[in-house]
Every structure is written in structure tokens, then in C-alpha cells.
């Protein structure tokens, strides 16, 4: 009994002494490391209650072989060009009408229209299944509705790819850099092997007060109104006006994901 009490007092004394010595050393390190970064929002950043995109399908289909938006996006974001469909990386691309809007397709659909290529990208859903299944919060929905990716946190489990009903997410099965044939843009990072990537609605451009790269180039090439980006919650915005005056559809609405890419038909 005496022995164990003696041992206990020794240990306790050493521990208190140790903690006392360590505190002055640890305190400044802890305060420097744990302190939140003193940061502000960028002045001039485009802000919205809810970002949305309206694609005028008729206008888009008039320019059947146009790839302006796809090229602009993929060059700006260092998206590799991989031909093998099992490995390819896509942020924005084209799918046949009958696959894009499978609920609208039927045996009597005009053959021409069924095979027409419709522009598709991440739908930035209001109820995104990818976010729900991500185990690391590497993907999440921002306050302005953008479904964002944090490549630093992605562990490459591909649950989000399984969860997304639109095929909007691509997995890097290999180092993408050798496949960036247009020249790597140092202003924007590439991705690494083992992470998932997708459209981010150009958050890096919104910060600088610019519309997404696809919308900007489309306005130049096809004229305004083919792709329109804006705040859907703002009744005075162009996107809200277009949806009020035109007939629009969304991809797979029955799934309840509430996609925010609207197609004027």
C-alpha cells in the first residue's frame, strides 16, 4: 500500500512538473496554429441566393457541331482529354436527347430529335445524392446552391459517382497530366490520380466577378440566350424571366434531386 502510494505521488508530481514546463512552449504554437485565418470575401464577387443555368435547347441544337463551351471549360480547368470512355474525364459534354431526357423519349419520338446531342453538365441539385453519400464531406452544397468539390479531402471512394444519376462525375484512374494536351494552365490546379472531379459552376471565376467559362464563350459564339446563368431566386433575373415565359424541363425530375439546370424546349 505504502509503496503504491509513493509511486503514485512520484508519477503525479512528474506529470504536473512536465505540464508546467510544456505549457509555455506549447501555448504560442497552439495559438499560432489554431487561430482562425483572418480572411474576407473578395470584393466584386458574384453572389446569388441560388445559382441556376438555363440552356435553350433549340438554339443550342442549331449549332450541332459546336464545342465552344466544352473546349473553353476543359481548357480553363486543365481537364484531360482521354479517349477511352472507361477513363475519360468530363465536366460538360453532349449526350443524345433520348438518353438525356429518357422520360421524354418514346418509340414515336422524331428520329432526328432522339439522336440530337444535348448539352449536359453537373445539375447542382438542390437535393444532391452525391453530397449525401460522401463520407468525408469532400463534396457539399454551398449556401448559394453550388455543389462544390474539395479535392484535398476526396479519398477516391467513388460513392458520389454511384450516387449521381446524371453521370456528372468522373474519376481519375490515372495521373491526368500527360493527357492535358492543350497545355497546362498554371493558374488552375490539375487533379491527381485517385480523386473525383466535376463542374463547379466556375467558383474561381464567380469570385472575380465573371460568369462561368461555358456561358461566357457561348454568349460570344452563339449569341446571348443560348446559355443563361443567374440567380433563380431573384424574380428580376434573366433566368427567372426565361423560366416564367418559356416551357422548361429538367433531367430525371422524378428522382427528387431537384436539378438546377433548366432546358428550354
Amino acid at each position: 500500500m505504502d509503496e503504491s502510494r509513493r509511486a503514485f505521488l512520484k508519477t503525479a508530481g512528474c506529470a504536473i512538473l512536465g505540464a508546467g514546463l510544456a505549457a509555455p512552449i506549447a501555448a504560442p504554437i497552439a495559438s499560432a496554429v489554431a487561430g482562425a485565418v483572418s480572411a474576407e470575401a473578395m470584393p466584386g464577387e458574384l453572389k446569388a441566393a441560388r445559382w441556376a443555368l438555363v440552356v435553350d435547347v433549340k438554339k443550342c441544337l442549331q449549332r450541332e457541331n459546336c464545342r465552344a463551351c466544352i473546349d473553353a471549360c476543359h481548357v480553363a480547368h486543365n481537364v484531360p482529354l482521354i479517349k477511352d470512355p472507361a477513363h475519360e474525364i468530363k465536366w460538360i459534354w453532349k449526350e443524345p436527347f433520348k438518353d438525356t431526357f429518357e422520360a421524354e423519349a418514346h418509340p414515336y419520338l422524331e428520329k432526328e430529335l432522339a439522336d440530337k446531342q444535348v448539352l449536359v453538365l453537373c445539375n447542382h441539385c438542390d437535393n444532391p445524392p452525391c453530397v449525401r453519400v460522401c463520407p468525408t464531406k469532400a463534396t457539399w452544397k454551398r449556401a448559394d446552391g453550388i455543389v462544390m468539390m474539395d479535392q484535398h479531402r476526396c479519398i477516391g471512394c467513388r460513392y458520389c459517382i454511384a450516387g449521381c444519376p446524371y453521370g456528372s462525375r468522373s474519376f481519375n484512374w490515372q495521373d491526368p497530366r500527360p493527357f492535358i494536351t492543350t497545355g497546362i494552365k498554371p493558374e488552375y490546379p490539375t487533379r491527381m490520380k485517385g480523386v473525383v472531379e466535376k463542374c463547379t459552376f466556375c467558383t474561381e471565376r464567380l469570385v472575380k466577378g465573371l460568369a462561368p467559362a461555358c456561358v461566357e464563350v457561348c454568349n460570344k459564339v452563339a449569341g446571348p440566350g443560348t446559355m443563361t446563368f443567374g440567380d433563380i431566386r431573384d424574380p428580376g433575373s434573366e433566368v427567372a424571366r426565361m423560366l416564367k415565359t418559356g416551357f422548361s424541363i429538367r433531367r430525371k425530375p422524378a428522382l427528387g434531386t431537384e436539378p438546377q439546370i433548366f432546358y428550354l424546349v
Partner: protein, 127 residues
Amino acid sequence: MYDTGKIMTGLAAFLVMLTLPFWYSAATGKAGERPDPVLPKTEKKCVESRQYMRDYHMDLLNRWRDAVVREDRHIYVSQDGTRHEMSLNNTCMKCHAERAQFCDKCHKYLGENPFCWDCHLDRKGVM
């Protein structure tokens, strides 16, 4: 004591081996090489003091990353009140344009292998 001679010789040899770096640099007059990162010529001051950057740049970058990617805050207010866009590619690398001349010098010396460069690039597009 048994084997006094052997033990003392062994101890002496051990002490010589242990202090060999000191003898070596005393004899040759040159110490081990230190890393010599090339500082940018265009700017005199980094976003924080030299000592702060030396001690905490890795932590600063982690906090920049979280603020930009996860919180949509992009302007860093440094301790002396100057403002900088938080961006490894576009702010750090604007001055420290060549990773090999700056970052890698100390990282290689210390055997550090930060994974920044798996995705981020220096200004010359060198990976």
C-alpha cells in the same frame, strides 16, 4: 574490473565516432551544406514576417485552403493589415515563380514531400 583495456579502447572509439562531425568540420573547415532557397527579387516582404513564414507557412497554407475552398473567403488580412488573395498558384507562385528554386530547396534538404504539387503548379507550369 575485467578487460579494462578493451572497454576503455571501445569507449574511446565510440566517443571519437560520436563526435566525428565536429572533428571533420574542424579539420576541413567546412560544415555541412545548408539549403539556399532563392528569394524573389521583385518583393522584399512576404505576406507575413520571414520568421512566421519559416515556422508556419505550411499551417498558413492549410488555413488558406480551407478558407478559399470551403468557406468562399478569398482575401487574407495579414498581421500588419495588408491584403492578399489567398492562392498558392496565383499569389505564392507569382513571386516564388520557380518551385525548384525555392520550395524544393528546403523540402528536399529535410526529406519533406508535401503533396501540394500533385495538383498545383508553379508559374512555369512545371510539375
